[in-house]
Amino acid sequence: MKKKHNLSYWLMFVMMTLIAFVSFFPFVWMFLSSFKPQNELLSMPPTFFPENFTIANYTSVFKQMPFGQYYINSLVTAGLNTLVGVISSSLIGYIFAKYDFPFKNAIFLVVLACMMIPYETLMPTVYKLMVGIKWTNSYKVLTIPYFVNIFGIFLMRQFYLDLPDDYLEAAEVDGCSQFEIWARIAMPMANSTTSSLVIFLFMASYNSFMWPLISVDTRKLFTLPVGIASMVWDRGNQYAMLLAAASMIIVPVCILFAFMQRKFIEGMTSGGIKG
C-alpha cells in the first residue's frame, strides 16, 4: 500500500532529520576524536575521521587517574540511588494516591512546595546537616540524600491516581495484604511510568556534579563527573584524553536507554479493565 505524503510531511521529515543531526553530531565528533592524537585533534583544518588512529587516550585515562574507581563509584551510587529511589517514590506516591489519612492534602502540599525550591538553595543547608552528622566524605553522603525524590513521588502518585481502584480491590478480595496489593499488582502495573522514572533517577544521580563535588574531597570517593572535572583542573589542555573519558562516561547511559526503551513498549499494556 502506497501512502501519499504531502508537503507538511516532508517539512516535518526534514526538520526531524535536522534536529537529530544537530543533537547527535557532537557525540559522533566526540567519539571519533577520542581516537585522534592531541596534535591531530587541534590541527587546522580539522579532520573528521581519525587519520592517525590511536587508543592511547583511553589507556592514559586509566593510567593518569583512578578512572576505574570513579566508574565503580558512579555506577554503584547511581544504581543504588535509582533502586531505592524508585521503590520509595512508588510506595509514597501510592500512599498519597490511594490511602486516606489525616492532613493528607496539607502534607502533600508541603511535599510539593519542596519541589519548587531550587536545589541550589537547599544545598548549603543539607551540606551543613551532613557535616553536623559527620556523613561527609563517605558513601552515605553520595547515596542517602538521593533516596527520596519528590519529583518521583509526584510522578508515581499521578499514575496511581489514574489506576482504577477495582484492580486493587480485586487483589484485596483475592487475599492480598495491603503491601502485597502494591507489590504484586499496583507496582507491576506502573511498569511504563516506573521505567521512565528509572531513567530519570539514574541520570539525576549519575550526572550530579555539585553535590558530590562539595560533599566529598577524597579521590577514592569521586564520581565520574567530579573525576573528569578534576582532570580538567589538573591537566586542562589534554583535550583528546578528555574526549576519551567522556566517551566512556556515556556508555552506561546508552545501555540503560536501549534497555528501557524495550521496557517502555512492554509496559504499555492495558485492557484488563473495560471502561
Binding site: 482504577p164 477495582d166 484492580y167 480491590e169 480485586a170 487483589a171 484485596e172 478480595v173 483475592d174 487475599g175 492480598c176 495484604s177 502485597e180 504484586r184 499488582i185 507491576p188 502495573m189 511498569n191 499494556t269 492495558s270 485492557g271 484488563g272 479493565i273 473495560k274 471502561g275
Partner: protein
C-alpha cells in the same frame, strides 16, 4: 458453602457537598446509602439484589466483601461476626463489573493468583485452574493476556478467577452489564449452569429485573437504600408488596389505574373507570383481616392478565400503537386519558381489526389478577 446473615446493616457515606442528585435520606453524619438491611442467606442459595441505579446494591455487596466499612448492624458469615474482618480473611471472592483482570498477567496467572497468594501447592493450583478453565471453556486462552480477549472471554476469566478458590461466598456486581444483549443471554445461561456445578453461596447484583428473575432463588428489591421486598421470583411477581415492586418487576410494566375500593359488609368491590370488579373470597378475607376501609386506590394489572372483552362491564379504550412480537401482540391503548398495555396472543387477534391504531377495544380483567395499592402509603393493601 456458607450462610450469610445481614442484621440491620446500615451504610452512611460522609456528605460530599457537590452531590445533591440522589433521593437518599440525609442524616447528620452523611447520606444514608443503605438502611436497616435484614437478610438471612441460606447455604448454597443464589440471592439477587436488584433495583434502579443508586439504590445501594453495590454498597451492600461491598460491605459483605469488606471493601466498604459497615456503619451499623452486623454481618455474619457462617455465624461468625465479620464486621471487622479484612476482605482477605473472609473467604469470599468477587467478580467486578469491569472484570478487573490484572493486565500484566496471562489468563492462567490471573486465575492462579488467589491460590498463589494462599501459597497453595503447584500441582493443586494447576489442577484447580484447569478445572475452572474447563468449566468455563477458556482452556485455549490460558496463555493469552487479557487485552487479547473479547468481553465475553474476559468475563469468563473473571469468573474463573473467582471460583478457583472455592470461596464460601461468591459475589458478583453486575457481571454481565458490559456485554451485548446476545452475549448477556448466553452468559446468563452459563451462570445458571455454573451454579449447578459449584457449591457456593451466591450474591449477585444487577439492575436488570429479567436477570434477577431468571437467576435468583430469592431476589431482594431495593430502592433508595431501603429493601422493598424479599422473595422468590414467583412471590415478588405474584404478590408485589408495594407500588414500586409492582412496577419494577415484569416487562412490560404493570398497568396502573386510579380506582375506588368500596367495602360493603365485608365484601369488597373495586371500581375502575366505570367498570366494577367484585373481589373474590381470598382477597376479601385478606383485606378484611387488614381492616381496609373504602378508599381511593391505585389498581395494578399486568398486561398479560388483561383480556379483550365485550359487554357493559368493560373499560373502553382506543389503540395508539400495536407491536407485533410474533406469538403475541402488545397493544398500547388509552382509556379515559390513562395509558395501558395489553398483551394479546396472536391467535386471539386473528381476523380482528384491533391492531390498527385508532381502533376501539374494550377490555377487562378477572378479579384474581387485581393488585390494590394504597394511595397514601403505596403499599399493597392485602399485605
Amino acid at each position: 458453602m456458607s450462610t450469610v446473615t445481614l442484621k440491620n446493616i446500615k451504610k452512611v457515606y460522609p456528605k460530599s457537598h457537590n452531590d445533591n442528585k440522589h433521593n437518599l435520606k440525609e442524616t447528620a453524619e452523611g447520606v444514608l446509602a443503605v438502611d436497616d438491611f435484614n437478610l438471612e442467606i441460606k447455604d448454597n442459595e443464589f440471592i439477587v439484589l436488584v433495583g434502579p441505579s443508586g439504590c445501594g446494591k453495590s454498597t451492600t455487596l461491598r460491605m459483605v466483601a469488606g471493601l466498604e466499612e459497615i456503619t451499623g448492624g452486623e454481618l455474619y458469615i457462617d455465624d461468625v461476626l465479620m464486621n471487622e474482618v479484612a476482605p482477605k480473611d473472609r473467604d469470599i471472592s468477587m467478580v467486578f463489573q469491569n472484570y478487573a483482570l490484572y493486565p500484566h498477567m496471562t489468563v492462567r496467572q490471573n486465575m492462579e493468583f488467589p491460590l498463589k497468594v494462599q501459597k497453595k501447592k503447584k500441582e493443586y493450583i494447576d489442577k484447580k485452574v484447569e478445572e475452572a478453565a474447563e468449566i468455563l471453556g477458556i482452556t485455549e486462552y490460558l496463555d493469552r493476556k487479557p487485552k487479547a480477549l473479547s468481553g465475553g472471554q474476559k468475563q469468563r476469566v473473571a469468573i474463573g478467577r473467582a471460583i478457583v478458590r472455592e470461596p464460601k461466598v461468591l459475589l458478583m456486581d453486575e457481571p454481565l452489564s458490559n456485554l451485548d444483549a446476545k452475549l448477556r443471554n448466553q452468559m446468563r445461561a452459563e451462570i445458571l449452569k455454573l451454579r449447578k456445578r459449584i457449591h457456593t453461596t451466591f450474591i449477585y447484583v444487577t439492575h436488570d429485573q429479567t436477570e434477577a428473575m431468571t437467576l435468583g432463588d430469592r431476589i431482594v428489591i431495593m430502592k433508595d437504600g431501603v429493601v422493598q421486598q424479599i422473595g422468590t421470583p414467583q412471590e415478588v411477581f405474584d404478590n408485589p408488596h408495594n407500588l414500586f415492586v409492582a412496577g419494577f418487576i415484569g416487562t412490560p410494566q404493570m398497568n396502573f389505574y386510579d380506582g375506588r375500593l368500596l367495602e360493603d359488609n365485608g365484601k369488597y368491590t373495586v371500581e375502575i373507570q366505570g367498570m366494577k370488579v367484585a373481589l373474590g373470597k381470598e382477597k376479601n378475607e385478606r383485606l378484611k383481616a387488614n381492616g381496609v376501609v373504602s378508599q381511593d386506590v391505585t389498581v395494578g394489572v399486568r398486561p398479560e392478565h388483561i383480556v379483550l372483552a365485550e359487554g357493559d362491564n368493560v373499560i373502553r379504550s382506543v389503540v395508539d400503537v400495536s407491536e407485533m412480537m410474533g406469538s403475541e401482540v402488545h397493544l398500547h391503548v388509552t382509556a379515559n386519558g390513562q395509558e395501558s398495555i395489553i398483551i394479546v396472543p396472536t391467535n386471539v387477534i386473528r381476523g380482528r381489526s384491533v391492531m390498527d391504531s385508532g381502533a376501539e377495544v374494550d377490555f377487562s380483567f378477572p378479579e384474581e389478577v387485581v393488585h390494590l395499592f394504597s394511595k397514601e402509603t403505596q403499599n399493597n393493601l392485602e399485605y
